[in-house]
Amino acid sequence: MGNPVLSIEKLTLALPSYADRPQAVNDVSLSIGAGETLCVVGESGSGKSMIAHAVMGLLPTAVKPTGGTIRLGGRDLLSLDPAAMLSVRGREIGMIFQEPMTSLNPVMRIGQQISEMFEAHHVFDRPKRSKRVVELLDEVGLPDPQRIARAYPHELSGGQRQRVMIAMALALEPKLLIADEPTTALDVTTQAQILKLIDRLRRQHGTAVLFITHDFGVVAEIADRIAVLQQGTLVEEGTGTEVLSRPRHEYTRRLLAAVPSLVPPERSKSQPKEPILLVENLEKVYRKRSLFSAGREVKAAENINFTLARGETLGLVGESGSGKSTVGRCCLRLIDPDSGKIELGGLRISDLSTSALRPHRKKIQMIFQDPFASLNPRQTIGRIIADGPIANGVSPEKAFERARELLDLVALSPNAIDRYPHEFSGGQRQRVGIARALALEPDVIVADEAVSALDVSVQAQILTLIKELQERLGLAILFVTHDLRVAAQICDRIAVMQRGRIVECGETAALFANPQHEYTRQLFAAVPGGRRFRNR
């Protein structure tokens, strides 16, 4: 490699005194050459995003660079004054962010927002600017670029907005593109397209790319070189193949091992058991009510049929808006279906009134997605777990004793019983959520994206726990997820959903080996790092 575009040397970023550690980033050195993609990988809190912001000169005021240099084409960015930094941002470095839905100004037209880039750096005259805007929108693959230029952000989908962000970041042909988790908020098929786009553009323009991500699948897809960050320290750096195939550091190995494989594990063919949950012809339509106009309709569930047997895990897989969560919640009657039959252990719960249903609710429980929002911040862990049994007539003493046992079961200390949710990490909270669901000794558990908000190593632990508990207690699990890797590992059967319908359903191994439906094939093809992590 010749002269690197960006070279970071011994960068140290100090955190304020109230933080949990003194440095966000400690003594990190990295460099990226022209046309090269460097992936900085790490779990949440690893400091990976701080590096990106430091390069951009956009650190939060509380975080201060205390050592090292960041050289862009020979100049040390850390020593530039604010005015000089203005001309670096946008012109020499472009940046795209994680949240396409909120990263664009809602009250400005798309075209104006891109053309601002030229205006800020005094490039082109007015007619030339609007012409360039349309060209850029075209280059990032947006249909009807003229119309998009006149549109407001809310008229575009998440994927389209991320394309706009890319067009904007690359408008002045910067030497360096920083992408901070640019596809994390996107669906897997959209993600695949955006990754392809970024890859194509950097090849065409010779842009160096600093790509921040937590997802090894994404890394495998696009990285030339990889830097692994743990707690602010660089533990390993090397070419893509080196790090992914022959990781040297223990932490990297652990992370890689935690990435679920796309190859379903061997499963012993067990005798088909009697179904505990049966769903027939389930329908649910959302209508936007409005006084003066006919509301819009969204079909969230259409002619849904499936069964779930004791000890079995059925995956409900789909992208956002596919209706998978709606179906999961209908099974618990958290959402009332419009029509159709739901039978739980022979009891037709879809027809019961709310009060008649209440005593039967204990048979089907739920594990929620968000470990922070799913526990009441004002209740102790013990209270949260014991509430269910108490609501079902168990005496408080017994319920709390049971709560202790359950904490032990989910590998938390029984002493945690008197503590509050905010004292726990995300993974620990999710264990509490599982304990709460188990407290009522249910037959069926609906797990709605139960591991999606967790770091990959924690995710692996929770998945193992769920599997263990299932074997021990003979639970039937309806596993709602967007993540095909997770689904491959935990599900016995999988139902693929698209726009409110189940398009394909089958044994996991068979489905992965030979997907029948066009949409399923698209979905599988879009899984990032699919090729590399397939045969591990």
Binding site: R361, S374, D387, A391, G433, R436
Partner: protein, 278 residues
């Protein structure tokens, strides 16, 4: 403990609380300090302030002691402020909670109703209500309560609406807790902080509203009130400015103190928001 620490660190809030306590002490011990009725003519009319030890703040055009009026007025202002806020909360909290939790049709109807009350010019409505019902402590409290509840209902509805879809409330549904139990144990405890903050700010605006009504001559004719004192002195502004001046300062300090305290409470109860404000 943490809450107290955060509150004390806010200088404005502490100042507000000190002023508020002083006003409250005056209101409580007032009758002992000035056992005579504030309506009694006790001295020469138009005694200027700081000229006679007996009347530190002077006398008005009928020779009534202004200091005595202020101290008795403190009782009336605080009393009306607190009671009418309680009335407004009693209307607004249940209404907002039901609208937010029930949703759908109920929500629509209740919110249209709330919007209606928000559209009506509230001070004009208060004037009309007190005038029609005849000025008295009860009619003033009712009028202020009636015009002040809509923001409470909207706040509670908003909070309940967002809490209702929170995952821990859904978890409470799945474990079979009854609806009232969910509202009382899961939802309402998490709305108390914003309601307390709003309540303290509402007492402030209720005091302002009461003084405005009294200023227009719509006060309870049996109760000495700050607004009435300002109004009574306004015809003699040029030669006896103090008659209107001191009661105005009293209203200002009390309302300011309540606002400062309310904001302090808000910052202390919502540490995340407060930090973002820096």
């Amino acid at each position: 403990m943490n809450f107290l620490k955060r509150f004390i660190r806010n200088r404005g809030a502490v100042i507000g609380l000190v002023i508020l306590l002083a006003v409250m002490i005056f209101a409580v011990i007032g009758p002992t300090l000035f056992p005579q009725s504030p309506w009694r003519m006790v001295g020469r009319p138009f005694t200027a302030p700081f000229t006679m030890d007996r009347f530190p703040l002077g006398t008005d055009m009928l020779g009534r002691d202004i200091a005595a009026g202020l101290v008795h007025g403190a009782r009336v202002s605080l009393l009306i402020g607190v009671i009418s806020t309680i009335v407004a909360l009693l209307i607004g909290v249940p209404l907002g909670a039901v609208a937010g939790y029930a949703g759908g049709f109920f929500d629509d109807v209740l919110m249209r109703f709330t919007e209606f009350f928000q559209t009506i010019p509230s001070f004009a409505l208060a004037i009309v209500l007190v005038a029609v019902l005849q000025p008295s402590l009860a009619s003033i409290v009712i009028a202020i309560g009636v015009v002040s509840w809509p923001p409470v209902a909207r706040l509670v509805r908003g909070e309940v609406l967002s809490l209702r879809s929170r995952e821990y409330v859904q978890a409470a549904v799945t474990i079979g807790q009854s609806t009232p139990r969910i509202i009382f144990s899961q939802v309402l405890p998490n709305t108390i902080a914003p309601i307390i903050v709003m309540g303290s700010l509402m007492v402030a605006s209720a005091i302002l509203l009461e003084s405005s009504l009294s200023f227009l001559g719509l006060g309870d004719p049996n109760l000495m009130s700050w607004g009435y004192m300002v109004g009574a002195g306004r015809t003699r502004l040029l030669d006896a400015w103090w008659i209107s001046f001191f009661p105005g300062i009293a209203i200002f300090l009390t309302v300011l103190a309540l606002n400062l305290t309310g904001e302090g409470l808000n910052d202390a109860l919502n540490p995340r928001l407060a930090r973002g404000r820096k």
